[in-house]
């Protein structure tokens, strides 16, 4: 058996090596082996609804143009001009007929094909092979309006990559034929390693203490449900793990946090539609809680964009049900803005914690003592009803152990051939599908 280059998490004890948060060489390797291979969430259909629409996004550190061409097809292209490497698109979004590079005006179609080079005859003597000089394209696929892309031609399909995690993601993203609508994003730069933000978003352990001030003020002034440890530890939620993705889910109505009779649906009609699409159990009996998709998506949805070993740009979108009225959508978006995002009551309190966890790996003493993500070891099993590996608590550090195990699998692999995928077992009732 080949020895593993990276062995950063001890699955038996939960000991984690914090060097992975700081080391510049590890970071460089992550950019290739994780961000160069994985399916990455890069946007949402509702950000580019019309032909000619584009949205500027990132795959790992790399700038990417997400566009919808005249045929309605969605494209993801590296935003680096094939001539000298200038950024072709410099705005956050817009609508255009073609992309003209501001440096020497090489001009690309909405699908990245090189359409025009100034002086092609006079200056280049007709030697330009335009067919070879389009913008570098990524593979693109969509699930329920969420747009993903990968640089790796060998990567499995998005369907296999998400696998049975979709069974749970449907609870939020596949409830209505009209799908979801994205608002935002907030964009801000935080001094952390990207992995900390992802593992934290599946960490319910910190919620009652880190966020006590926000939860208490919201309970007192707005009448929001209480979020004490007493309440959270007693909730019967569970967590499921598939391919390094994590989802927490709750039974309705008893484990609902908001007392909404329809769970996440705002009207009886929306609720009926969700049951038709997803079946009784998923449409009526379950609610999705926190969820993260390997490597850098924290759904709600939010994208964690690496900018260096200890720098990360965080993008926070609000997702709303497109079947809701504009007023309802707006109210949901504003609630999301007040709670999470750069100015959110909850989110603001996370960042210093994440930053200190990330930078601890700089210190010899911290590397010697390691970090411990050992909560709930041995409590994971398979289940007849729920696909994936299940833990009977949603407050668990199993998510951390699965995430770092998946990270090791990517970092130790020479290609996708060495990266295992969980078999797909879920029965998708109703009409939930990859084209949601």
């Amino acid at each position: 058996m080949k020895t593993k280059k990276y062995n950063v998490i001890d699955q038996e004890t939960g000991r984690l090596d914090p060097t992975i948060y700081c080391d510049p060489d590890i970071y460089k390797e992550e950019m290739e082996k994780v961000f160069g291979r994985a399916w990455l969430l890069i946007g949402h259909d509702s950000l580019i609804p019309k032909p000619g629409d584009f949205f500027h996004t990132y795959m790992g550190e790399q700038p990417v143009i997400l566009s919808r061409d005249k045929t309605g097809q969605v494209n993801a292209m590296l935003n680096i001009c094939r001539h000298r490497g200038a950024r072709v698109v410099r705005t956050d979004d817009g609508n255009c007929k073609s992309f003209v590079c501001p440096y020497h005006a090489w001009t690309y179609g909405l699908d990245g094909k090189l359409e025009w080079v100034p002086g092609e005859e006079e200056l280049y003597d007709g030697t330009i092979d335009r067919a070879q000089l389009g913008l570098k394209r990524a593979r693109v696929a969509t699930y329920a309006g969420l747009i993903f892309a990968t640089w790796d031609q060998q990567a499995p399909s998005l369907e296999e990559y998400l696998g049975d995690a979709r069974w749970y993601l449907d609870l939020e993203f596949n409830r209505s034929a009209q799908g979801t609508k994205a608002f935002g994003p907030h964009k801000w730069v935080i001094p952390i390693n990207w992995k900390t933000a992802v593992d934290n978003c599946s960490d319910w352990y910190h919620v009652p203490y880190s966020h006590a001030s926000a939860a208490n003020a919201l309970t007192r002034i707005m009448g929001a449900p209480r979020m004490t440890s007493d309440v959270l530890w007693k909730k019967k939620g569970r967590a499921a793990f598939v391919n390094g993705h994590q989802v927490a889910f709750f039974r309705l109505p008893e484990d609902s946090f908001d007392g909404n009779p329809y769970g996440v649906d705002s009207t009886a009609e929306n609720h009926r539609e969700a049951i038709e699409r997803l079946g009784e159990l998923r449409g009526d009996g379950l609610m999705l809680g926190t969820h993260s998709l390997f490597p850098n998506t924290v759904l709600g949805f939010r994208i964690v964009i690496p900018r260096g070993p200890n720098e990360t740009e965080f993008w926070h979108f609000s997702m709303t049900n497109a079947a809701d009225t504009p007023d309802k959508q707006r109210a949901v978006a504003l609630e999301h803005a007040a709670q999470n995002g750069a100015g959110g009551h909850f989110e603001s309190d996370d960042i210093d914690n994440w930053s200190q966890v990330s930078s601890s790996g700089k210190y010899a003493g911290a590397r010697e003592i390691g970090q411990y993500v050992n909560m709930g070891i041995g409590n994971t099993h398979t289940d007849d009803v729920f696909p994936g590996q299940i833990s009977d608590r949603f407050v668990t550090e199993q998510n951390h152990r699965f995430f770092y195990n998946r990270w090791e699998e990517f970092m130790n692999a020479d290609s996708w051939d060495d990266i295992p995928l969980d078999p797909m077992k879920a029965t998708f009732e109703g009409t939930a599908s990859m084209d949601g």
Binding site: H186, W188, V189, S213, A214, E313, H345
Partner: protein, 181 residues
């Protein structure tokens, strides 16, 4: 005083009003920097809105899209009085870790432009600001932007019913927006 503002040219400039509002803003900035947040919140009406939109990078010809219209987007803040009370009560708890220990802030507010004065005394005013934030041991952030306020004369002072804070930044180069502007 030489008067060259647009408001002055259109006849709106009233030196006494300008001075009164200017000193109101100076006092307001001191309340923020002295961390007297309750007294600061008392400068707002009950129906207040504290609003901070995003700021997009768009081409010059599309500058009307740079600041998304209110009600169409995901702003950083669109807070009612109640939500402002949540924020302040949170900070007072001593466990709002984003501001524990609290930031040292310095707000410089200037370039006061009185945009309009209505018959009932309602004033629309625009100011530019620079705010420096120092947090913990070494974290610093520098914000610049402008504010647009709707002010009402109340009991010899002013109350703000609507504040729009527009930052100049596209991506915010700070770990959170746990301070006020």
């Amino acid at each position: 005083m030489t008067v060259t503002t647009k408001s002055a040219l259109s006849g709106l400039f009233d030196e006494t009003l300008w001075s009164t509002i200017n000193s109101f803003y100076i006092a307001e900035a001191w309340l923020l920097d002295d961390r007297k947040l309750r007294e600061w919140l008392d400068l707002f009406t009950e129906e207040m809105v504290y609003y901070m939109p995003r700021r997009r990078n768009v081409n010059r010809k599309e500058l009307d899209r740079e600041i998304p219209a209110r009600g169409t987007d995901l702003p950083y803040f669109e807070d009612s009085r109640k939500l402002m009370e949540v924020r302040i009560q949170r900070l007072e708890s001593g466990t709002a870790w984003a501001e524990e220990p609290p930031s040292r802030t310095r707000h410089l507010v200037g370039n006061l432009l009185i945009e309009s004065v209505e018959d009932d005394g309602t004033v629309r005013a625009k100011t530019a600001f620079i705010c420096h934030r120092s947090h913990g041991e070494t974290a610093t952030a520098l914000y610049s932007g402008y504010r647009q306020d709707v002010l009402h004369p109340v009991d010899g002072s002013w109350k703000i019913s609507d504040r729009t804070v527009v930052l100049d930044a596209n991506v915010i180069l700070d770990k959170n927006l746990a301070i006020f502007f």
